[in-house]
């Protein structure tokens, strides 16, 4: 089903919101407000926003760490205020300020996150087992990077998920680098999507700068999952505009990423591309989109104020958190 104009505008708004919140955390590092490290996702907003758009609240999402998942979180219905507060180390953060940069929201199907890359695969396999047992047509969408695809856990989980026909959409955000490592030196095949072949899954490769293309591909995988047809793989070709993490050198191995490469991808900014398209197709007027932009900026300012006014957690909660009763 083609997306309605309202839905298209939601996709636009969520990308702009994701960008404003991402910029807040980046700026927070310079201002001393962000307490941990940050892996900005500027340039990759279309993947999380498109991939999580219009899922069910009870679908499970493992977000990707680019932008610390802000695009995925917003699109899935999570609270960006709690996202900011967590990054500022506050008690009102998603993890009560204990994690520093993770997000959790069980009511919206975001059950948690891990700092060890490649953890996504076995855990979301388990979510898939649960979703299948629940038998309510739930889907699991697991986002991961090109670097994560180098982990052995991918093999174990993808193989078992296919054998068990679990309702999982595996979605790779291929931004061509894993920290400083270019994909060409880390992956022996041309496309991550080729990984679908040995596990007997279908796959699609899409332009990760095109939010509608991402949405349609992930929706295809989710519908297969809901119908009991098993897992699928979607590869989104994308690019990060900033360095791997704030303060890290922006390099391929030990030399700067090629400036022509960076420039070429920046011309393919997913928000600018989509704005032009919405205007060109007369889905929205410029003033409507400007209004969305202004709202997103105000929302991010408000979240920053909320986080700054919130207290840090009390260390006395820690021993209570370790074990459930």
């Amino acid at each position: 089903m083609p997306l309605s104009n309202e839905q298209l505008k939601t996709l636009y708004a969520n990308m702009v919101r994701a960008r404003r919140f991402d910029e807040k955390i980046v700026q927070g590092i310079a201002d001393g407000k962000t307490v941990s490290f940050f892996h900005s996702g500027l340039g990759e907003e279309a993947v999380g926003v498109g991939g999580c758009a219009f899922l069910r609240p009870d679908d499970f999402v493992w977000y990707h760490h680019r932008g610390h998942g802000i695009g995925h979180i917003i699109a899935k219905g999570g609270s960006p205020r709690e996202f900011v507060a967590e990054h500022f180390g506050k008690a009102t953060g998603a993890c009560n300020g204990v994690a520093g940069f993770h997000f959790v929201d069980p009511e919206h199907g975001m059950l948690g996150f891990s700092g060890t890359i490649g953890s996504a695969f076995p855990v979301t396999l388990g979510w898939g087992v649960a979703a299948k047992m629940n038998n309510r047509g739930q889907a699991v969408v697991c986002f991961f990077g090109d670097g994560a695809s180098n982990r052995g856990t991918l093999h174990e989980a993808m193989n078992m998920a296919s054998v068990m026909k679990l309702p999982i959409a595996w979605v790779c955000e291929n931004n061509l680098y894993a920290q400083f490592m270019p994909l060409r030196d880390a992956f022996a095949s041309e496309d991550i999507a080729n990984l679908a072949i040995p596990y007997g899954m279908p796959s699609q490769t899409v332009d990760g700068q095109d939010v509608v293309a991402v949405h349609e591909a992930v929706q295809w995988a989710v519908e297969r999952a809901r119908a009991g047809e098993g897992p699928s793989l979607v590869e989104c070709k994308t690019y990060r505009f900033r360095a791997h993490s704030e303060g890290a050198p922006d390099v391929a191995h030990f030399e700067l990423r090629p400036p022509e490469e960076v420039e070429e991808w920046k011309r393919r900014d997913p928000i600018l591309l989509f704005r032009e398209r919405l205007l060109g197709e007369e889905v929205a007027t410029a003033s409507e989109l400007d209004g969305i932009d202004a709202e997103a900026a105000a929302e991010a300012d408000e979240a920053e104020r909320f986080a700054m006014e919130s207290p840090p957690p009390d260390a006395s909660i820690l021993s209570e958190l370790l074990y459930a009763r």
Binding site: G126, L322, A324
Partner: protein, 325 residues
Amino acid sequence: MRDIPYRIAMQEALAEEMARDEKVFVVGEDVQAGTFGVTSTLVQRFGPARVIDTPLSETAVAGTALGAAMAGYRPVADFMFADFIYIAGNEVLVNAAKWRFAHGGKVSLPLVFLAAMGGGARNGPEHSMSPESLIMHTPGLKLAVPSTPYDAKGLLKSAIRDNNPVVFFYHKRLLGLRGDVPEEEYTVPFGVADVKREGTDVTVVATALQVQHALRVADEVKDRVSVEVIDPRTLEPLDIDSIVRSVEKTGRLVVADEDTERCGVGAEIITQVIERAFDSLDAPPKRVCAANLPIPGGFIEASVLPQPASILAAIEAVTGRTLKA
């Protein structure tokens, strides 16, 4: 009371809990047949959807448990050999142990990791480990190490009902051990040590197979020295109070467990006793553990693993008496 083997007592615990709570399921390699007989017969009663044979993929087995637990199930994942927990070290020690804490208490992980511990079967260095200290060292996990059929059944039922990740080590050399198990329903609580034999001259704290060794030695020397044998049953939580009380009575302490000596269970328990009851000790405490070597296969296995004679020698050392017949 009936006299049944340890392995059957565990089978009963699994079957009873699966019948009691439809959220409980068993997953692992070859659990339908049951490599050690612990999970055997369950598939005939509960079907393959709740007794899941997986591919040879330890991270996927662990991840299935993690993910399904986060999503509301109570999985029991079997690793076969305790040595194989290292393969899923990230899933067990990093993810399962930390996730409730790291997510501000917003998710819980009610799951059991089962594994066969121990040597004595001449299975060689990679199938004979008793990694109790590894688990005990890791905040966020609980650890049960039963020594009798009664405890195996009661502790396993408690483990399944616990809202935290529990590592449950069953000892290979105890699987056929017979003992009294009531017909009626019961559980054994975590964190409550059991005095397996009362005595006044020396306290022997022992786990798993070493409890049986200690009881045998205590009986052999009963005319010359009165040995109290205490089984903590769970190492996290650890009932240190009962151990300290016993040492205050006897003034002498031996700790016998099958893990490697260095930084091991004995080191931890003795340190805690010294911190709490130094003045009660009439002699330096002694550890009885596996030597600081990998466990060899073949005939020389016994030269590395603790034997009843090692416990006897330790009792002689702390009491200053010669006890050999």
